[in-house]
Subunit: 439 residues, 2 copies
Amino acid sequence: MNALPHGALALSSLEEQMLQPGVKGLPLTAPLRQGAIGVQGWNVLHGDTSFPVAVLKTSALRHNLEWMRDFCDRHGVRIAPHGKTTMCPQLFGAQLANGAWGITLANAVQVRVAHRFGVRRVLVANQLVARSDVRMVLQLLHEDPGFECVVLADSLAGVARLAEEVDAHPLTRPLSVLVELGLSGERAGCRTPEEALTVARAIERAPGLVLAGFEGYEGLLVSDDHDADLRAVSSFVARLCALVREADDEGLFGTREILVTAGGSSYFDLVARGFQELHGLSLPLVPVLRSGCYLTSDHGMYQRHIAALDAREGVEPDAGLRPALEIWSVVQSRPEPGLAILTMGKRDASHDAGLPVPLWHHRPGPGAAHALPDGCEIVKMNDQHAYLRLPEGPVREMLAVGGLVGCGISHPCTTFDRWPLLLAVDDDYAVRFALNTFF
Amino acid sequence: MNALPHGALALSSLEEQMLQPGVKGLPLTAPLRQGAIGVQGWNVLHGDTSFPVAVLKTSALRHNLEWMRDFCDRHGVRIAPHGKTTMCPQLFGAQLANGAWGITLANAVQVRVAHRFGVRRVLVANQLVARSDVRMVLQLLHEDPGFECVVLADSLAGVARLAEEVDAHPLTRPLSVLVELGLSGERAGCRTPEEALTVARAIERAPGLVLAGFEGYEGLLVSDDHDADLRAVSSFVARLCALVREADDEGLFGTREILVTAGGSSYFDLVARGFQELHGLSLPLVPVLRSGCYLTSDHGMYQRHIAALDAREGVEPDAGLRPALEIWSVVQSRPEPGLAILTMGKRDASHDAGLPVPLWHHRPGPGAAHALPDGCEIVKMNDQHAYLRLPEGPVREMLAVGGLVGCGISHPCTTFDRWPLLLAVDDDYAVRFALNTFF
């Protein structure tokens, strides 16, 4: 009998778990097995769920998964989607099933979650420095010979920290490290190619470590000046590629392949094109994008960036990535003619890159939702409330206490982490199954 | 044999649960029983935890619990702390053990969490309008005759929604409803006393509902103009009290006591003083404050408001409410002389009412933490990173990669909801036990 795939039991245990009343979005009055959610006959538009509720449209998810698989095939790149966006094991599984090379994560705790649910290759797009955090990762590499993990370094002090811990907890294989190239005035990462090469040489020399490639994050360059962004991103990717070439010329890589990785969710096309310039190395190259937000897109900042990307790629408007994530809430008060107070707030939807975008309204019951007219705007959120301003006109009559409102969001990362459980729905908002997050 | 107190089994099940590697803040490489956390010998300053980690100082929690009990005794008021701040059953228990009248909550899902862990009296400081949400509460009242719950209404439509659901799911006792008095241009609530009385009369007439009192939230009046706030808050509380008197004169209350409730975490002293003016009613009055943030205070907006409150109350500076909540992270990169990148971000600390406040630094190991000098400032956060600007001086040498940084936060509500588990520590940062949240 073959062993079950790694993580299969952990994933199936999510379906087996008994959910207690008190899970956001679920209308439970008694415990319910998670796997039975899809047979309850719930429909968001019928008012069957609790509100607010976070929904993911399966048709959009499926489209976006296929879109990215095709994109990577076309551009000869791989993707290790940033898992921190969703921290959702079921979505990690869908991404891997659609060709993802691995899953990117931000820290050791996230690596443990991904490993538990069967992810076999992770890229930690950060320096691990705290002793306990390094050990949490080393112990996995020690116990699970098939598990692969690469981490970043951007300083000699960081390399020394990693080397110390590997020395204290020897592995049967070296720890793979990427050097991070940064940007002046921005986040982590070496500021110059010289600095990056110095760190690369230190990794090459450190017992127990091996230089696996170079990493950068062009997403920090996103500004309001699109043309300036394009030049800056292309130039940054070129610098990253030049580093790979120099390190290869010096023979610093200790792996069988060379990794080069960059790519947030706004300019990954430019990154992919930049990586195509890198050939003729002494080892096979694995160019890896790390976009996390392509999977759900949004109705805010990423929708704008993705529209620009579609234009660069020549994608027809309808064929691009689709927004998959919506938050539905209820009008709990209509205290003034131009104001509706909704039962959702900062606890339920992103507010760091634009407030939620009101899209739909519906009186609970059969039928399809109606688009809200222009001029409807969420102008403020408290912890548990949103303030929806209504323009003059019939919407003021239609949007009564008890009415449902569906909103898009801007920045999926800071919405996913507000929901331990999201509901997958079809295009009619019938609830099909649940998705768990681990933040 | 006496039955166990309500919720005791659920609370003890938290101590019995096996925590898997991958819980934020915990350095787990194997499952650990939650109740065993306190005997691991972990100390945050020794670098034993994972980072970032959220800690609550038990000495400050104990002080604040006693402070509020004394405050309520002195002013002849009760408190139903807003549970949405922490959503932490262990802290609900501590608040009730220190004299809280009940727990305030924001919605039906939160009510279910509180009930599950033994809270016997809740005040839902919101309109419940969605069918499923009303039913989640009615079902508790139906099944558990000792459970008490009051909800708000601010419109005839809202009263009708409640009455319909009660009619469809009859209770053996009426549902207690408070009328919400609001503020023009602000959130929910009736805009005029006339409107509020109209809603009160509708509740009185509705079969299955009973008018229990009036509610308001003066916290929406908080502005930068302290003197204007004082006048506006006192005037609002006076209007609320006048409403209670009018409704009493009309004989609208159907309960054995009259509830009047207001009070966020900035001006609850003014609310308490205002409630003292209300006497000579036909029924006993229960004046209830609802501050949620007194329990942990903060190092930002509430610290400023509480300093002003202390001044009004004549409290000695050292005797006031103390900040209890800190987030500790690690310097993961020192890419520029004046910049340290920390392993915490918007996923870990509030950013809606000011960025975290850097307080302490410490090289992992024995000894006490040192205060960071003036001029250290967190200037930006990404999802998983904070940018700490360092002034010229010795701090630039001291704060190396791997160093620990302790930060205070501004606005506890939007930090608690980032942590499924927080660690209670003593004044030396030794880890004593864990606290769970349910968001």
